[in-house]
């Protein structure tokens, strides 16, 4: 840019700076604020339960500093320690440690009383000891990840012999079915992301995180995927397989996070019923990966690589979710999964349209609807 361009670029910034100074320094801000009491906001990001001790990680997502004066558990004031300070500035974080003989498998309620008398309540729906970084907890989270992520995807890959024997027109139906599966996953994850976004401290703007995460992932992957002229041959299908594996992998990172977090807060989303359900549900992910490449006799190592790419992130997600879950992190991760899935769906539809007959065909529509139906039915097992 020329010096003149720089000057024009800086002008609005300088003007804005002047306005901010004027508003904050002339007392105008105080008049705008009037006599309203400060609006305090506080979010409990994470509860950790150790024997005889409840710890809360809190963040101030509001505009004003917040001071925690007292803490009660189950309507009884308790002594506590708070580090680094009982006062949290905007976006400040702190940890509150409350010695308390919590009761295994029962519910508790922690209430934080601020210096202005406002209260912030945080329920503990089911008290179980929080997994720590010891080998036992990591092992269990890994096992959960393997069961709900890696194994189902691998099992799904075994649809390969079936799909490879399908006639050409049926093959495209299988791809459409894959698209249906992915649309279901993506939309469901989008709602989950928005739901989690509601728990994000206001300052971190949950909805914006969903947009940034999903569109960021979508656009990045879209630019990274093979450009025009799009390869329609075996190479193109192989690339599609890898992209689907990557998309599902990113999706499973978010899913693992949610499952790990559920395990950590004792919401035994981990009933036998649910884990079985997830296994069946996620088997369809293997089907989605293998569908594009099934006719091309992929090598076993290729398939193993795809299964790993799609399934292993579940384990990583479970670790993060179990050990360091925060709504902010979860929102971002789930949103990234949404974007990745959307990109894969776009990729599949590009493949359909390149076949020359357009995408509005009964075989495509039927495949997509069948995919949604399969997800609905297997979804019954996770609700």
């Amino acid at each position: 840019m020329t010096g003149r361009q720089w000057a024009w670029a800086l002008l609005p910034g300088a003007l804005l700076f002047g306005l901010v100074v004027a508003v904050t320094q002339t007392g105008l801000l105080d008049r705008l604020r009037g006599a309203f009491p400060p609006v305090e906001e506080l979010t409990v990001e994470r509860v950790t339960l150790a024997p005889g001790l409840i710890s809360l990680a809190v963040v101030n997502g509001g505009p004003e500093p917040v001071t925690i004066a007292q803490v009660s558990v189950d309507e009884a004031f308790r002594q506590f320690t708070m580090a680094p300070s009982t006062t949290l500035n905007r976006l400040g974080r702190a940890t509150i440690a409350i010695p308390y003989a919590w009761v295994q498998d029962e519910a508790h309620l922690v209430t934080l009383l601020t210096s202005t008398g406002l209260t912030f309540e945080h329920p503990i729906p089911l008290a179980v000891e929080t997994p720590t970084t010891d080998s036992s907890s990591l092992g269990l989270l890994t096992l959960i990840g393997i069961f709900v992520g890696v194994l189902p995807v691998a099992v799904g890959l075994l649809f390969l012999p079936l799909i490879s024997r399908l006639p050409e027109d049926r093959f495209e139906v299988m791809l459409a079915l894959t698209a249906g599966l992915l649309i279901f996953l993506g939309v469901e994850a989008l709602f989950e992301a928005l739901e989690t976004a509601a728990e994000v401290p206001a300052a971190f703007q949950g909805t914006a995180l969903v947009l940034l995460g999903s569109l960021g992932a979508f656009l990045t992957l879209q630019l990274a995927s093979p450009g025009a002229p799009f390869q329609t041959g075996a190479d193109g299908r192989l690339a599609a397989g890898w992209f689907i594996a990557l998309g599902i992998g990113l999706h499973n990172l978010g899913e693992g996070l949610a499952i790990g977090a559920a395990y950590a807060i004792g919401e035994a989303a981990l009933s036998a019923f649910l884990v079985t359900g997830f296994m069946i549900h996620n088997t369809t992910e293997g089907l989605a990966i293998v569908a594009p490449v099934a006719k091309d006799h992929p090598r076993l190592t290729t398939l193993a690589g795809m299964a790993a790419l799609a399934g292993l992130p579940t384990i990583v997600g479970a670790w993060i979710g179990g050990l360091a879950f925060t709504p902010t992190l979860a929102t971002l991760f789930i949103a990234v999964g949404v974007g990745a899935i959307a990109q894969v769906v776009a990729l599949l539809f590009r493949m359909f349209s390149r076949s020359g007959e357009g995408i509005w065909r009964p075989s495509i529509a039927g495949g997509v609807l069948a995919g949604l139906a399969i997800m609905y039915v297997t979804g019954l097992l996770v609700r």
Binding site: A50, P51, G52, L53, T67, A69, Q70, V71, S72, E75, A76, F77, R78, Q79, F80, T86, P99, Y100, A101, T111, L113, T114, S115, T116, G117, L118, T119, D134, S135, S136, G139, L140, L143, I144, A268, L270, S271, A272, F273, L274, V275
Partner: protein
């Protein structure tokens, strides 16, 4: 499922390896506990607040035994005239360590001063409103209608003089009766009103306790409970009691939002003089109080030690309505 996973894990690692793992884990846990000492979470002292209240508007131990007899003089007809000043003032008070509350107060304190007279005395209460809302002073007792402190609403900056004869003998209360009642009382406008009988009660150590609470977030329920405003005050600083000395407790329930309150005394029983009646109506260790209800309790401790007293609503107790009598010294009998 978790159990099943655990058993599966045990199967996988199994045998000697599994046993070794358990031992190793135990050591790790021990080390952690040494590094970060965790207090025994069943310790009763932990059922308390962090820090001390500095600016509550009263000193709980001083308030406990302070009575306002007014300015005393003789009327031409020989009766005793007692003149009191009650002024409503808006004031921020500390209702728990570090928690400020915008209270409405009589004479800048919550509860208001404990007003005391003898049956038949003429009481003249000059009531001024220096607050921001209309208020009144409604005394329980027997008096004429325009001295009842309901319809004679006193606007900010105005004043009103209540005059009536102290009757009947007993334990009463006074509070603001401006509407909305609940808000005016909950914000701190209440106090104790004692009318001594013409025949004095037996000599005793006398205390006044007003059971109250504070709805700091205005959600229609109390966050904090106490006697005499400061939660856990007599738990942190026990009330000294002499062995064998008769204790007379004027106990008033000024709590809002909760329909009932109660008093439970440890290691002892008390005589109940309902609304300050002349004869004991009951001998018990737990007594229920409706809103506005008040009774005189009399008891004597014969053994030394610390004896707790608290609301028997465990929730109220652990949210601040809890105290201790510290009994020391020689008994009268010894």
């Amino acid at each position: 499922m978790l159990d099943r996973m655990m058993s599966r894990r045990a199967l996988l690692t199994g045998g000697v390896l599994g046993a070794a793992g358990l031992v190793a884990r135990g050591q790790v846990l021990d080390a952690t506990e040494e590094d970060l000492p965790v207090p025994n979470s069943h310790d009763p002292s932990l059922a308390a607040m962090n820090g001390q209240v500095i600016d509550s508007s009263i000193d709980p131990l001083a308030f406990l035994e302070h009575f306002d007899y007014g300015v005393e003089s003789k009327l031409p007809d020989g009766r005793t005239l007692r003149e009191y000043e009650l002024t409503v003032v808006d004031r921020e008070i500390e209702v728990a360590p570090g928690v400020m509350y915008s209270a409405w107060t009589f004479n800048g304190q919550v509860p208001g001063p404990t007003i005391r007279a003898t049956e038949g005395d003429v009481m003249r209460i000059r009531f001024s409103n220096a607050g921001s809302h209309p208020h009144t002073a409604h005394f329980h007792g027997i008096h004429v209608a325009n001295m009842d402190g309901v319809y004679e609403v006193v606007e900010p900056g105005d004043s009103y003089t209540y005059e009536f004869t102290a009757a009947p003998a007993g334990l009463h209360l006074y509070h603001c009766h401006a509407f909305p009642l609940k808000r005016h009382i909950a914000k701190g406008l209440y106090g104790t009103f004692i009318v001594d009988p013409l025949t004095p009660r037996p000599a005793a150590r006398e205390m006044v306790m007003v059971m109250n609470g504070f709805d700091t977030n205005f959600d229609g329920s109390n966050e904090i409970y106490a006697v005499n405003t400061v939660p856990f005050a007599y738990h942190s600083n026990p009330i000294p009691v002499r062995r064998g000395e008769l204790q007379r407790l004027y106990l008033v329930n000024a709590l809002e939002f909760d329909l009932i309150n109660s008093m439970h005394l440890h290691g002892n029983f008390f005589n109940v003089f309902r609304t300050g009646a002349q004869a004991s109506a009951d001998f018990t260790d737990t007594l229920m109080f409706c809103q506005g209800e008040r009774h005189i309790l009399e008891f004597t401790y014969n053994d030394p030690g610390k004896f707790m007293f608290h609301a028997h609503q465990s929730e109220f107790a652990e949210l601040g309505w809890m105290g201790v009598f510290d009994v020391t010294g020689q008994t009268v009998a010894e």
